[in-house]
């Protein structure tokens, strides 16, 4: 594939990617290998670049809100929430407190389903398929709740500039309470199957390490940064929606597991603890839910005429399941915003792959790449070039390598 693919000396070049049939966001990796050990990493994203910002700069904010729903298939709230918050600041729109609480509840439900989805993917990459099915089975409860509250499993269409489009009725409260009861106690079970498992520990402990300093220098966000000990959680640091009223703490790997080491294992710990935290936050929201309107302005033409007059710039920022999500919007009195810049969380985490993967083995690539939760999609097609002859490795082969390593450890 590359110019040096014919050379017969180390380091060997191994391209991985860019497409994967199961998950989204393809990324092309090129590894320089010496034997089994990764010497250097290069990656090329952009295979799924759809020019959404360009499209947005030709649409009005109400249309863009629906476009933002479609930026990510898993994070349906965070982008529309970031964008709506930016526009609300420019047009000085006051969001009713009840809408802020509904936004927070959905934001946390989304975090739960996203982390459980990730837990399943991680288990699959390690070769624990029963655990993969179990994780996705328990994830369904949060998907059902989201469907109950918004009407959709993905592309929720719940956020509107100035509030939310659907209220939580009194009938829906017990449904949420039931869902939360289902997840209480789940952490102990997840801890037993993930964290207390000696094979998972040996596959993940001290692998894919990102140091505290590197996490800072490379601008890592979310669980990736927190697993390295960087206390960086927008919900705790920078009040938005209902978080200013709630008791939220930043989840760092606790001392009982050896403190923050910044490895794959710590990233599992942080995500599992955050699922437990989300249950608590939703309960706080339900207990303190204010009454009142859910939209600043119900009539869309009226809303649009206000937005058309808006001048200024603002930053909308939320803590997505994968880390900080940020939208910069600038409006200059036209229908469409003059500038719209989307910064998704994986955008900030990409650079962290380089120190994580250096020195690791080929079989550890899938779990380390997945450990930043990149909507991982890259380990589809691998061509290993050794002594000038090329052999194609598929995603299945790579997963098999990873599993064989687990089996070897099981036999020891």
């Amino acid at each position: 594939m590359n110019g040096d693919s014919g050379k017969k000396s180390t380091p060997y070049t191994i391209p991985i990617g860019p497409v994967h049939p199961a998950l989204k966001e393809p990324v092309m990796f090129t590894f320089q290998m010496e034997g089994e050990v990764v010497k250097s990493v290069d990656f090329a994203p952009g295979n799924a670049h759809r020019g959404i910002e360009w499209m947005g700069m030709r649409r009005n904010p109400v249309q863009i809100v629906h476009l933002t729903d479609r930026i990510c298939g898993i994070c349906g709230i965070v982008h529309s929430l970031s964008f709506a918050r930016a526009v609300e600041q420019i047009a000085e729109i006051e969001v009713p407190p009840r809408a802020d609480y509904i936004r927070t509840i959905l934001h946390e439900l989304e975090r739960m389903q996203s982390h459980l989805l990730w837990a399943g993917v991680a288990a699959h990459e390690l070769g624990f398929d029963s655990l993969f099915y179990l994780s996705w089975r328990v994830r369904e409860q949060s998907m059902d709740l989201i469907e109950n509250l918004t009407g959709n499993r993905v592309n929720y269409g719940i956020i509107q500039v100035g509030g939310v489009r659907r209220d939580i009725s009194d009938d829906q409260r017990p449904v949420i309470e039931q869902g939360l009861a289902y997840y209480r106690g789940l952490f102990d079970q997840m801890k037993a199957v993930f964290l207390d498992d000696s094979i998972i520990r040996s596959r993940c402990r001290d692998h894919g390490v990102l140091s505290y300093r590197d996490a800072q220098l490379l601008c890592a966000v979310g669980p990736t940064a927190r697993a390295s000990g960087v206390a960086f959680d927008v919900r705790h640091d920078y009040p938005y929606c209902a978080y200013g009223d709630l008791d939220v703490h930043t989840v760092l790997p606790p001392q009982e597991f050896g403190g923050p080491k910044g490895d794959v294992y710590d990233r599992i710990i942080v995500r599992l603890l955050e699922i437990a935290q989300s249950i608590d936050i939703i309960q706080q929201c339900l207990d303190n839910m204010p009454t009142g309107e859910i939209l600043w302005e119900k009539k869309i033409p009226k809303l649009l005429s206000v937005l058309k007059k808006a001048h200024g710039e603002a930053i909308g920022r939320v803590e997505a399941p994968r880390g900080e999500c940020m939208h910069y919007v600038r409006m200059d009195g036209n229908d469409a915003p003059a500038t719209w810049k989307v910064k998704a969380s994986t955008y900030s985490n990409l650079m962290s792959w380089i120190p994580m993967l250096k020195g690791e083995q080929l079989a550890d690539i899938p779990i380390i790449v997945a450990s930043i939760d990149p909507c991982m999609s890259c380990t589809d097609r691998v061509t290993v070039i050794r002594n000038g002859s090329a052999a194609d490795l598929t995603k299945e082969d790579l997963t098999r390598l990873s599993r064989e390593k687990t089996r070897r450890l099981l036999q020891c």
Binding site: P45, D237, Y238, G244, R317, E324, M326, T339, S348
Partner: protein
């Protein structure tokens, strides 16, 4: 690293004004409270002379190592404005602020020094600004394209609003192109248009010959 104590947004602005004086073109603070208690979050916006970009970022780093969220950009007609969006004092309960440092580059001289020597993680954002705004980041350790494919024409910068932006002939409207012809049939037959068969055939001929 010496860490200065936690400062208020106004103290940050004052610090910059005393340090850089007339080099600060504009400094303002915006605030926003949401929820029931309306706990305030603050954004600090500082516009500096282009020569002061790196000293201004260095000042921020000396204060407390900031998080670089992204570099955003505005096409203002004769100038491109770059906004380096940071957050400082993260980790303190409701004490984090966004600090945005903005510079303007005239379109006759679109060069800006790299900040990857201060914050290596800025590389992704700098590569993106090069390909989307056509600016040149001097000293960038890796100047390849990031998101835009290699076959995308040179000299076209998607976020520019002038003649170097996306040209109308590059835009293909999905509604006009219709379903690609080289794909398997959809599981559910497509809805027939309301017009007569012949009218639909005529339309297909018109749009079927779309380029590529």
């Amino acid at each position: 690293m010496n860490e200065t104590p936690h400062l208020s947004p106004q103290e940050i602005v004052d610090l910059y004004k005393t340090e850089f004086g007339t080099g600060i073109q504009d400094a303002r603070i915006t605030e926003r409270g949401e929820g029931v208690r309306k706990t305030k979050g603050y954004n600090v916006w500082i516009r500096v002379d282009r020569a002061l970009l790196k000293p201004a970022i260095k000042k921020l780093i000396d204060m407390r190592f900031p998080h670089l969220a992204v570099i955003a950009g505005n096409d203002l007609g004769t100038e491109i404005e770059l906004l380096y969006i940071f957050s400082v004092f993260y980790g303190t309960k409701f004490g984090e602020y966004m600090v945005t440092i903005g510079i303007r580059l005239p379109k006759t001289d679109l060069t800006v020094p790299t900040i990857t020597d201060l914050i290596p993680g800025a590389l992704i954002s700098e590569r993106e600004k090069q390909e989307f705004f056509g600016i040149t980041v001097t000293g960038i350790p890796d100047g390849r394209r990031l998101f835009i494919p290699d076959e995308f024409p040179q000299g076209v910068y998607p976020w520019r609003k002038d003649e170097t932006g996306i040209k109308p002939e590059m835009v293909r409207e999905l509604w006009a192109i219709g379903r690609p012809k080289d794909r398997p049939a959809p599981p559910v037959p497509e809805k027939k248009p309301l017009q007569e068969e012949s009218a639909a055939e005529g339309k297909k001929e018109k749009t079927g010959g779309a380029p590529e």
